[in-house]
């Protein structure tokens, strides 16, 4: 049985993203951030985006390109500590920021990917982060309900892919990528290496192809930002 070839032109893949879209972006710091997809998103230029990403990268890098281009209305993230520009825009009211505890952010994204409405947890009970949240009584205690967090698009970065869209990530570049790939209505993956069907061991797949809609090949020579070694 043949399989679909999901290889897509970078421009065509990103052109689907319209004003007001909710866009998840993989990565934790530099590793796993799909810089090429983000760069094309800036070129394409939709406005009023909601961006969901663990962090805001650093000034002049990744998510900061979107912030600087004035394309972001709302940022859902666990921290923006390494990006003073994001902090400034947040304080100036130029962007809304929703802070979510890192593991809760991961789990809310996963819940969407798993087709759940939300989950029940005690994380944040008794702190500022529980304020305004829906609660439920179970086993004689009060728990928080955390709603699933879904998106229109997920932009993810893989080390390797086959043409059907099976993805493999490298080391700590995995992070939020597999969760986001499952949680969005349309998942666009960039991959450093694309192999023929059969080139990835079925036991070694990190994101199964049915979760991936479009596959964008990266040039052999990656943008410099992928190799940043400084902090």
């Amino acid at each position: 049985m043949p399989v679909l070839d999901k290889s897509t032109d970078l421009t065509d893949a990103i052109a689907q993203i319209r004003d007001g879209a909710r866009v998840m972006i993989g990565g934790f710091g530099v590793p796993g951030t799909p810089f090429t997809l983000i760069e094309e998103l800036v070129r394409h230029g939709p406005k009023n985006l909601t961006i969901i990403k663990n962090d805001a990268n650093e000034p002049g890098m990744g998510v900061d390109w979107l912030l600087s281009a004035g394309m972001v209305r709302r940022l859902i993230t666990s921290h923006v500590g390494l990006n003073g520009n994001a902090v400034r825009m947040m304080n100036a009211g130029e962007i809304e920021v929703e802070f979510v505890a890192q593991g809760i952010l991961a789990e809310r994204i996963r819940a969407a990917g798993a087709g759940l409405k939300g989950f029940v947890t005690d994380i944040g009970i008794g702190t500022l982060l529980s304020e305004g949240k829906q609660t439920v009584e179970m086993d004689g205690a009060t728990w928080l309900i955390e709603p699933a967090l879904e998106a229109d698009f997920a932009l993810v970065h893989a080390a390797r892919a086959d043409t059907f869209g099976n993805l493999v990530y490298a080391a700590t570049a995995r992070n939020f990528n597999p969760l986001m790939a499952m949680a969005a209505n349309c998942t666009i993956a960039e991959a450093e290496t694309i192999v023929e069907i059969g080139g990835i061991d079925p036991d070694a797949v990190h994101t199964p192809a049915p979760f991936v809609d479009h596959l964008v090949a990266l040039p052999e020579q990656l943008m410099e930002v992928y190799g940043v070694v400084q902090r």
Binding site: V3, L4, R110, A114, G115, F164, G198, P202, P210, F211
Partner: protein, 218 residues
């Protein structure tokens, strides 16, 4: 059901499996649909025990003891396939990545309700994965004989048995007809060759809305 009627039904269902789909085929009749899908049609077969990319049944003597489908049959993994755990497998189902599932039925109703897991008075052996397939696949097709072995309709106005899922069925394929569940009721879409509208109406326990003009056959 004659073997030619059965084959026509399977082939008709197979025509709704289109290129690029991720599909889960239930145990029994639905599994047999795959044999009628064109060999060059790119389809990804999911089985809920943890594989996307079922190749087919394994030739006797070639079985891999670690590789079965949800029905317990020894299978092969197609090129481009992947393995995953049971949580990811049902994430794929509930998360909307399953384009189509074809299931069997004890009863199916004009409102799309499906009953296929328990008959009161008989002991149920469990629910398996059918509930989530029925409730969450983007499209749900039911494959069934139009009537039971006593000649009673299996397509009813409302199910009498406990439901597997409410309002989940989009299309019903039988040895007599193809019907679609719409908001305004059950629509007859096609007749099996040699079957008349009157015969189908007589064998159906629900109001059947027929098209005005000639009815296509399959």
């Amino acid at each position: 059901m004659s073997s030619s009627a059965k084959n026509r039904m399977l082939a008709r269902a197979a025509r709704d499996i289109t290129p690029g789909m991720t599909v889960n085929l239930g145990i029994g009749l639905p599994t047999q649909v795959m044999a009628h899908v064109a060999a060059d049609c790119p389809v990804c077969l999911h089985s809920e025990n943890g594989i996307a990319g079922v190749g087919g049944l394994t030739a006797p003597g070639q079985e891999d003891r670690n590789l079965i489908d949800a029905g317990g049959g020894y299978i092969t993994c197609a090129p481009g396939g992947s393995f995953f755990d049971s949580a990811v497998s049902f994430a794929l189902v509930r998360g909307g990545r399953l384009d189509l599932t074809l299931l069997g039925a004890f009863e199916v109703a004009a409102n799309g309700d499906l009953a296929n897991w328990i008959i009161p008075g008989k002991s149920a052996a469990g629910v398996g994965g059918a509930i989530e397939l029925a409730q969450k696949a983007r499209r749900v097709g039911v494959l069934t004989t139009h009537t039971d072995k006593h000649g009673n309709p299996k397509i009813l106005d409302r199910c009498t048995l406990p439901l597997t899922a409410m309002g989940c069925v989009n299309r019903i394929y039988t040895d007599m007809a193809v019907c679609d569940v719409e908001h305004d009721g059950l629509h007859l879409i096609e007749l099996a060759e040699g079957v008349t509208l009157a015969e189908v109406r007589a064998a159906t326990g629900a109001l059947l809305i027929a098209p005005d003009g000639p009815i296509p056959t399959f």
